[in-house]
């Protein structure tokens, strides 16, 4: 489903974020990308989202290559992804429900189904009672849950969560990880990046990708 072939990424300011990365992620996997801050985790997610294009090598998502010229392809790929951004990227001045629905308006689902999925998603993240609250009036943790609800309401094939535990205390961080893991199923892959490896328990059915200084140093095995 996701394939990196000899991928290197150099930003315009000449910073090299990734070196010769090769990896393959299949459908329905739970993947943790771990490593210290600045290791290249977010760069990997950006490549999957088509926010960056590899300088060398190729990235394929849902069997489609991510290229400079493929804006339409990139948008099609993105419609199958439920992203949970580090800074959430919620739309201010709108309610939680509006934010969740906003991520679905352009998908091929009926208005009735759209509303149903949005309500279900907010319920799953425990925010049904805050669906009419403006997002700027929510706490950090609540805003994050809205971002998760927006991602999962779309019923995506791939959920990408970038540092979802970043600003949370231990209990809340564990809860968020559990919540994200709960959306993984045969059809939905979940990829989570985190530098807080102490939060991850030894999970036999999960895939671990360790990255440091832009290089994948360990894959598949639990190395902590």
């Amino acid at each position: 489903m996701i394939e990196f072939k000899e991928v290197s990424l150099i930003y315009p300011d000449k910073t090299q974020a990734l070196y010769d990365v090769n990896l393959c992620i299949g459908q329905g996997e739970l993947v943790y990308i771990t490593g210290p801050s600045g290791a290249g985790k977010t760069s990997m997610l950006k490549l999957i989202m088509g926010m960056e294009i590899p300088t060398v090598g190729s990235v394929s998502v849902f069997d489609k290559k991510v290229r400079h010229s493929g804006t339409r392809t990139i948008r099609r790929i993105r419609r199958k992804i439920g992203p949970v951004f580090q800074e959430f990227k919620l739309i201010k001045g709108r309610t939680s429900l509006e934010n969740v629905i906003m991520g679905m308006r352009f998908l091929k689902i009926t208005p009735k189904q759209m509303k149903l999925q949005a309500h279900e998603a907010l319920e799953k993240v425990g925010l049904a009672h805050k669906k009419y609250s403006k997002v700027e009036n929510l706490s950090w943790g609540e805003a994050q849950r809205v971002a998760i609800a927006r991602a999962v309401a779309r019923k995506p094939s791939l959920i990408l969560a970038d540092e979802p535990t970043g600003n949370l205390d231990y209990d809340n961080a564990v809860n968020i990880l559990e919540l994200l893991k709960s959306f993984r199923n045969d059809n939905t892959t979940v990829i989570i990046t985190t530098h807080a490896t102490h939060l991850i328990k030894d999970e036999k059915d999960a895939t671990f990708i360790r990255i440091n200084n832009g290089r994948v140093t360990a894959e598949r095995g639990w190395t902590e």
């Binding site: 989202m49 088509g50 926010m51 804006t71 990139i74 948008r75 099609r76 790929i77 993105r78 419609r79 199958k80 992804i81 992203p83 951004f85 990227k89 919620l90 739309i91 201010k92 001045g93 709108r94 906003m102 991520g103 308006r105 352009f106 091929k108 208005p111 927006r150 779309r154």
Partner: protein, 296 residues
């Protein structure tokens, strides 16, 4: 396309929200747009009055053809008709000996008594030919070559001046309309671009969620059109108020300049300004949207 129409209600609501979220800034946009379009309205009205002046000056351009001695009254009529059929001739009219004398008396005023020294009327009948100044040279040649015409008084100097003035007025009108029109487009698109820029985070988030460009851009284009049309309506109201005030104080005439009928001018402004604002709003929004386009 079906999805677009299905989302039409959402687009309208979204435009309302975009306006509400930056209400003060959008109010200023409407006022700014109204002021710019008000200036454009004044220039258009001025150009319209100018073009009427040009037409009037054009219509005043005339030459006189004097007949040979042997020409009878009937023949004069047929010569006038022949000249009337020439390209560049607007109309012809025979001015008889008596009318020619009366005209001179009017010109001389108190000095007209000098004409009483003549026992016979010294004036000759002639054909008064109103011409299109653009075709002046060709008409003069043709009239001079007409059988029964002895000579032509062409007032060339006056005609050349009329030609220069009409040309200058036309160019000035076009230049002013083009200058104000282009400035309006640039300022409007900049204001709309600023509005879109204020919402860049929302636009980028929607892009990251895979939203198609039309879905992202349409509410902004609609917002731009709504704001500029509101500005256009304000400008039209202000220009109509100004026209009414000006006509009331001048009584419908301005020295020798023929003002267009008040209703005609008001109708033109009431129709044109909102219409122009609609087109400018559409192009300004599309230009504003495309100018902040970032990579996908």
């Amino acid at each position: 396309m079906r999805r677009f129409f299905y989302n039409l209600g959402y687009f309208i609501k979204e435009s309302g929200k975009i306006i509400k979220l930056n209400l003060l800034s959008n109010i200023f946009t409407v006022i700014g747009t109204g002021l710019i379009l008000f200036l454009l309205g004044i220039v258009i009205a001025g150009t319209d009055i100018g073009s009427r002046l040009v037409t009037m000056l054009n219509e005043e351009a005339e030459i006189n053809g004097y007949f040979t001695k042997d020409v009878t009254t009937d023949k004069m009529q047929s010569i006038a008709e022949e000249i009337g059929r020439m390209d560049g001739v607007r109309s012809t009219r025979i001015v008889g000996e008596e009318e020619a004398k009366q005209r001179m008396e009017e010109i001389l005023g108190e000095e007209a008594s000098i004409l009483e020294l003549f026992t016979d009327n010294p004036f000759e009948a002639f054909v008064e030919i109103r011409i299109d100044v653009e075709a002046m040279d060709a008409v003069l040649d043709s009239v001079k070559d007409t059988e029964g015409i002895e000579y032509v008084r062409d007032n060339r100097e006056v005609l050349e001046k009329i030609k220069d003035i009409t040309y200058a007025l036309k160019i000035l009108g076009y230049l002013m309309t083009a200058a104000v029109g282009i400035t309006t487009l640039i300022i409007l698109s900049h204001m709309i671009r600023q509005g879109i820029y204020n919402n860049r985070d929302q636009i980028n988030t929607l892009k990251l969620l895979g939203s198609p460009g039309v879905f992202i851009g349409f509410p902004y284009v609609l917002t731009g059109v709504i704001l500029t049309v509101l500005g256009g309506i304000i400008a039209a109201a202000a220009v109509v108020w100004l026209i009414n005030g000006a006509y009331d104080s001048m009584g419908g005439t301005l020295l020798f300049i023929p003002l267009p009928p008040r209703k005609e001018l008001i109708d033109m402004m009431a129709l044109w300004l909102p219409g122009i604002s609609l087109v400018l709003g559409l192009f300004g929004s599309l230009f504003g949207l495309s100018s902040i386009r970032e990579k996908s």
